[in-house]
Structure formats: structure tokens, C-alpha cells
């Protein structure tokens, strides 16, 4: 049994907690650096990370790293609870969506003072650095870039005898998709319905020179934008390019229930680093390409960190933690152990070293990023508080429109007014 039925514990239990709070977390080996490392992800990520940990421990006597890993859905409640208890892990794998939430509430350590010293990320390009900044301060170390990517079933387009939807406009895209649906007698759709998903929405907004949010955290679009978006998808539903509402609603916003995986639609709107996740659940070979494009010159894409390392503000071992993080992104051996599993490395030198031993799927993703990189625009500013709630709200309104509960125009109106209410509350 691994119980710690030691005397101190029992004594504290007997005496009650209040007065002894201060004794709470005395590190077991004060002379050593004990680092708690926390990440979400698959078993493969776990294996890779632990290999890097053990190599680092071999090289650095006195550093002991305890890995803690969970799946995405379980990861955040535990992190929130531990942070609320002032007991978060030292090194935290952070998501772009959450970094502002944690940083602005003082839970993360600004890393600017380490840059150029123990954190040697000078060869990261500006975009890879800026994407980890919140309100001008660096709160994350880029673990790899990704971009929005459309993942599609190649065979479905072949069967319809039309071209694959590579770098096409939205109009052309829906045309191809409708052809795919027709070729499958309406039992299999050309694309899933993306009207409730934020990433194609944001891309599309950027194509028309708008954004989800402005620099100062206001809403970056107006009623007409939202209405046009819902109208575009309403038309796609009419032409059967995408499935009806009751089929689309089976998608629970994860890989396993996505209509592409379920064998009900040929295209999924996602991120490049999830390509592998889709491919292992699909028998047909999948393609990866950019989202459909608008009339304007900008494709709307941008590179963003698929994830980053952030450091807990209350860590007692900041320096050793930074050094380990640096090892995983800048040391060739360390970075090679992680590979491109977390995204395509930001450092050109490391990217090259890692690319040497990629498998076919990994290579496809790296090629995609190289293809996108020259076309990307600047990364949007860190989202304001309430952004997560607005994302959920978009999905709800998109469903209201697709189920015919509200009209397209009312949907646009409602989106704007609810978004403003959420922003003013946060």
C-alpha cells in the first residue's frame, strides 16, 4: 500500500487543519529541485515526454521531475482546482485558449526575465513569440505551431469525380461538396456543417477584414458579418452540401463524434496537429488543406502555438523549470524525443533536426505548415475574458438557425447582442 500513514499526517489529522496550514507543503528533499510537470494528451505524447524527462534527469543530477498526465477533458478541472488551492504544478502545458485566462488572473509567471539567459529562444520568429504573449508579456514557450486545417476524405471526392477541395473559394467548396453528396445519393455529405465552429468562423471573418475581437477586447464584427455567415451555411444546407441540423448535432466537438470519423461527411474543420488523431480513426486516406478562401487576398489563416509551456506563478523552482523547458524546445536531443507530436517546432534549427526522422503522417503535417506559413496573417490579440463563453454561444445560435428556431437575420442579431452582454459582464 502506498498510504502515507506517517505520524505527522496522523497528528495533523487529529489536531485539525486550520493552525497547521503553514506546514502544508514542505518539499521532501530541500536540496534537490523537484519539478511537477503536467500535460494533457495521448499515450504517445506521454511516452515521448517521459523519455525526454529521463534523459534530462540523467544529465542533471539533483533534478527530479514528476510527470502528471491526463486527457484534455479531465485536465482543466484538475488544474483549476489545484490552482485555486495554490498547489498547481510547476510546469504546465498550456493551451492558447486558456493562457490569457490564467495569465490575467496572476496564475502564470512572466518569462521575459529569463529570455536570453536560461531561456534561449532567440531564433523563434516573431509570430511564434507574440502568440505566447498576453498584454505584452511572455507567458508561454511555444511547443510547436499549428494552423487551421481542413481534413477531408480523399476517396469521397474521387468517387464524385470532382477535384479535391485544395485552396478553393467558399463558393467552389460548397459546389464540390454538393457534388459529393449527390454522388453518394444524399447518404454521405460533402462537408460537415461548420457554422457553429469558431475556427472556420474566425478564418472567414479575417478573410473579410474583420476579427472575433478587437485589440482592446471589443467585438470585432457587426450584425451583418454574423448574419452573412449564418446565411452562407443556410444555403449550403439547402444545396445539401452539408448535412441537416439533426445529423450535424450528433457532433460533440471531438474527433470521435465528428461526422468525418463517423463516416457521414467528407470534410472536417480542425487544426493541423489533429490530423494524425483523425487518420488513426479513419480507414480512408485523409487529406489536409487550408480552409476555403474568400474574395479578399488574405486566406485568414495564422500560425498559433498548438500548445505551450507555462510556469506556475508560485513555483519555488522557477530557474530549474525554465532550464528543463528550454531543453525540450532547443536541445536537439531533447526536442527530437518530443518530435512534432505537439506541433511543428518554432526553432528553424530544431524543425530541421526533427524533420529528418518523421513518418509519412508527420511529414504531411510539416509540409502543410510550410505551405501555409508564407500565406499567414498576424496572430490576433489574446482573446478577452468571456471568449470561451462566446464560443459556446456561437454553437448554440448556429443550431438555433439550422433547426429553424430563429431566422438567419435574427441569429446574427442575437449573436452580436449576446456577445456584447458576455463581454460587458466579464
Amino acid at each position: 500500500m502506498t498510504h502515507d500513514f506517517d505520524r505527522r499526517t496522523l497528528l495533523k489529522a487529529a489536531l485539525g487543519s486550520a493552525g497547521l496550514a503553514a506546514l502544508g507543503s514542505v518539499p521532501a528533499f530541500a536540496q534537490d529541485s523537484r519539478i511537477r510537470l503536467y500535460w494533457w494528451g495521448s499515450k504517445e505524447r506521454s511516452d515521448r515526454t517521459l523519455k525526454a524527462v529521463s534523459l534530462y534527469q540523467d544529465r542533471n543530477a539533483g533534478v527530479k521531475i514528476d510527470g502528471e498526465t491526463l486527457a484534455w477533458g479531465d485536465y482543466w478541472p484538475r488544474l483549476a482546482t489545484q490552482a485555486a488551492g495554490r498547489n498547481a504544478p510547476d510546469l504546465i502545458q498550456m493551451d492558447y485558449r486558456y493562457v490569457a485566462e490564467y495569465a490575467r488572473r496572476g496564475a502564470l509567471l512572466p518569462l521575459d526575465e529569463f529570455v536570453g539567459k536560461s531561456l534561449d529562444i532567440s531564433d523563434f520568429d516573431k509570430a511564434s513569440l507574440d502568440s505566447c504573449k498576453v498584454d505584452g508579456k511572455l507567458y508561454g514557450i511555444n511547443l510547436g505551431n499549428n494552423s487551421n486545417a481542413m481534413i477531408y476524405n480523399k476517396a469521397a471526392f474521387q468517387k464524385a469525380g470532382v477535384a479535391e477541395p485544395i485552396d478553393v473559394t467558399w463558393d467552389k467548396f460548397f459546389e464540390l461538396a454538393a457534388a459529393v453528396t449527390k454522388a453518394h445519393n444524399g447518404e454521405y455529405y460533402g462537408t460537415s456543417d461548420g457554422s457553429g465552429e469558431e475556427s472556420p468562423y474566425e478564418n472567414w471573418l479575417r478573410q473579410r477584414g474583420k476579427a472575433l475581437f478587437t485589440e482592446d477586447g471589443k467585438l470585432g464584427l457587426d450584425e451583418k458579418d454574423a448574419t452573412d455567415w449564418f446565411a452562407m451555411w443556410a444555403k449550403a444546407r439547402e444545396t445539401k452540401a452539408c448535412p441537416p441540423a439533426d445529423l450535424q448535432a450528433l457532433d460533440k466537438n471531438n474527433i470521435e463524434t465528428n461526422l468525418l470519423t463517423q463516416g457521414r461527411a467528407a470534410c472536417a474543420f480542425n487544426h493541423s496537429n489533429q490530423y494524425v488523431g483523425y487518420q488513426v480513426l479513419n480507414k480512408n486516406p485523409l487529406g489536409i488543406t487550408m480552409y476555403p478562401q474568400g474574395a479578399g487576398p488574405s486566406p485568414g489563416h495564422y500560425l498559433k502555438p498548438s500548445m505551450m509551456w507555462s510556469i506556475y506563478a508560485r513555483t519555488k523552482v522557477a530557474e530549474p523549470v525554465v532550464k528543463f523547458a528550454n531543453f525540450t524546445v532547443k536541445d536537439v536531443e531533447g526536442a527530437k524525443l518530443l518530435g512534432v507530436e505537439r506541433g511543428v517546432p518554432a526553432s528553424p534549427k530544431i524543425r530541421e533536426a526533427v524533420s529528418a526522422d518523421l513518418d509519412a503522417m508527420g511529414k504531411l503535417v510539416v509540409d502543410f505548415i510550410s505551405h501555409v506559413t508564407p500565406k499567414v496573417g498576424p496572430i490576433p490579440p489574446a482573446p478577452p475574458k468571456g471568449a470561451g463563453e462566446i464560443q459556446t454561444m456561437l454553437r448554440r445560435i448556429a443550431e438555433q438557425v439550422s433547426f429553424g428556431r430563429v431566422s438567419v437575420a435574427d441569429g446574427g442579431k442575437q449573436y452580436v447582442s449576446e456577445a456584447q452582454a458576455i463581454l460587458s459582464r466579464a
Binding site: 477533458g73 483549476a80 485555486a84 488572473r105 496572476g106 439533426d246 445529423l247 448535432a249 463563453e389
Partner: protein, 313 residues
């Protein structure tokens, strides 16, 4: 008091003290049974409970210290929160439908399984299986295969000439599939009913069959009254559980409460507020409102129980 009463008083006095002593020692013995629970309640449960009550009067974003804001959370809930009313409605619908159905189903099968036919342990285990699986992904998959547009239910309905909707993903019906999910996981109340049935002494049936009562009369006159403590228990516990229902929606909708918030249970809403949107103070206020509703319901049930629950004591 008259003088006549004063005289015996001196005589009664020692007896009174011993009575008091007996009362005290009886209380002490009773409390000795309660000690583990009391330690647990005062040491582990009460503190966090009061803390959540305190947090309900604050603005608490999990990461920074809570700021007291008085009744602002409660005020917002009652005056400016459409989702509160909506999720209340969802939860009440769920409670009203799921609890009676589940209890009826559980009692019915417990009666069937209380008979002497072969293979019963196997059936009992099978019937309990859905409850064993808890929150497994397999359940989500099953529900999709049953209740999607081309699901099994619609295949059967199609046989009779009906074209059913996509029950699980149509906001008009999705809540009812969760009610069915709850009924399907009837294992726990069934086991409790079974245990209750086993505790009914057989000789009361013997007496009844001598009296010439038939099966239905036996059930109404003997089984049901003797089973009322267990029925009462299952009713209270299942209702509380249904008010707090979280897992069914979490399995089927991945925590979104969708489509269009049609399965946004009250607790799911509270969870989103607390953990997804970092408003734990608000979530705590929501939780305490639920507690008060459940407490009123439970108190009412206990008050009426004296009219229909038959204890042996």
C-alpha cells in the same frame, strides 16, 4: 405548587437525578454510535459546505482571492439570468419524468426477480450491468445507435409506418432520451427494492394465502405497505439525484448541454459557470438555491411520509 407537592419533592429528588443520569448516559451511548459521523461531519463536510455558502456571496474566479459582493450573485440569478430559468425548467422536467418511471421499472423488475426461477443471479447481474458501466463512452455510442435518425428505434417505428425524428439530436426530444437513459440505469433502486422484498417475513404471505388473498391483493395489502420504507427511501434519494443530475448530460452531450441547451441540466450549467467560465462564486450561489429547493422537497416528503410510510417501530 401546593405544600403537598413539596413534601414528596425531597423524596423524588434522588430519583430525578438518577433519571437525569440515565438520560445522560443514554445520550452518551447514543452519541458513541454517532461519533464517526460527527467527526466526519464537523471535520470534513461542514467546513467546505460553509465555505461554499460564503463563496456564494463573493466574486471568486478560482485563481484570485474572493471578493465579497453581498447578494449580487443571487440578484443576478433571479433578475437577469435566462439560463437559470431555462436550466431549472430542464431539470424539473427531468425529475418529474425520470423518477417515477425509473422507480416503477425498478420495482417491477425487482418483483419479477424475486421469484424462484432458474438463472436469476445471471439476470440480476445483467440488469445491473448498465449501472455498472457508469459514465462509459460505450453508453454514448449505444444511445446514438438507438436514437439517431437511422437508429434502431426508428427502424422499429418504420416497421409500423412511422418516420421518427432524430430523437437524440433534435432539441425537441433530446431531453427525453436522457430520461430513458436514467430509466435504463435502474439497477441501484432495483437492488434496494430486492433487499427490501427479501426482508418481508414469508409468514405474512402464508397467512394471507390462507385468507384467500390473490396475487394483486397480496401486493397491495401486504407487499406494498411493508415495502413503503424502501419505497420512501428510493423516492427521496432518486429525486435528490435527479435534481443534481449531471453525468447523463455529460456523457451524451459531452458537457455542452446541447443541442440548443435542450439538455442543459441545472448542475451542468453550474459546472460550466464554475469551471469553464471561472465564476465559482456565481456557481456556489446557484448550488445553494438548488439545495434550498431540494431541502423543501425533502422536508415536505418527510411531513407526508407519516401518512403512507409504515415502519415497524
Amino acid at each position: 405548587m401546593t405544600t403537598t407537592a413539596q413534601i414528596p419533592l425531597t423524596i423524588i429528588e434522588p430519583e430525578k437525578t438518577s433519571k437525569r443520569w440515565r438520560g445522560l448516559s443514554r445520550a452518551l451511548v447514543a452519541y458513541s454510535f454517532l461519533i464517526p459521523w460527527l467527526i466526519g461531519f464537523l471535520g470534513l463536510t461542514l467546513g467546505p459546505t460553509l465555505a461554499s455558502l460564503y463563496l456564494s456571496f463573493t466574486n471568486f474566479d478560482l485563481l484570485q482571492d474572493p471578493q465579497v459582493i453581498g447578494l449580487a450573485n443571487y440578484q443576478r440569478i433571479f433578475t437577469n439570468d435566462a439560463k437559470f430559468w431555462h436550466s431549472m425548467q430542464v431539470t424539473f422536467t427531468y425529475v418529474i419524468l425520470a423518477v417515477p418511471l425509473k422507480l416503477a421499472f425498478a420495482l417491477g423488475l425487482a418483483m419479477v426477480l424475486n421469484r424462484g426461477i432458474a438463472g436469476l443471479p445471471l439476470y440480476r447481474a445483467l440488469f445491473y450491468l448498465p449501472s455498472l458501466l457508469g459514465a462509459s463512452v460505450a453508453i454514448a455510442v449505444l444511445w446514438r445507435q438507438l436514437f439517431a435518425k437511422d437508429g434502431l428505434v426508428n427502424v422499429v417505428l418504420g416497421f409500423f409506418g412511422f418516420a421518427g425524428p432524430s430523437w437524440i439530436s433534435d432539441p425537441s426530444y433530446s431531453l427525453y432520451t436522457l430520461v430513458l437513459l436514467s430509466v435504463w440505469q435502474f439497477g441501484s433502486p432495483m437492488i434496494i427494492f430486492l433487499a427490501g422484498l427479501r426482508q418481508i417475513p414469508p409468514d405474512v404471505y402464508e397467512a394471507a394465502s390462507i385468507d384467500g388473498a390473490n396475487k394483486v391483493q397480496q401486493f397491495i395489502k401486504i407487499t406494498l405497505p411493508l415495502l413503503t420504507p424502501v419505497v420512501f427511501f428510493n423516492f427521496i434519494v432518486q429525486t435528490i439525484d435527479a435534481f443534481k443530475a449531471f453525468t447523463p448530460a455529460f456523457i451524451i452531450s459531452e458537457g455542452t448541454g446541447g443541442p440548443i441547451d435542450s439538455t442543459l441540466f441545472y448542475t451542468l450549467y453550474l459546472y460550466q459557470e464554475g469551471f469553464a467560465y471561472f465564476r465559482m462564486g456565481y456557481a456556489s450561489a446557484l448550488a445553494w438555491i438548488l439545495l434550498i429547493i431540494i431541502a423543501c422537497f425533502t422536508a415536505f416528503s418527510f411531513l407526508t411520509s407519516r401518512y403512507w410510510v409504515h415502519y415497524n417501530d
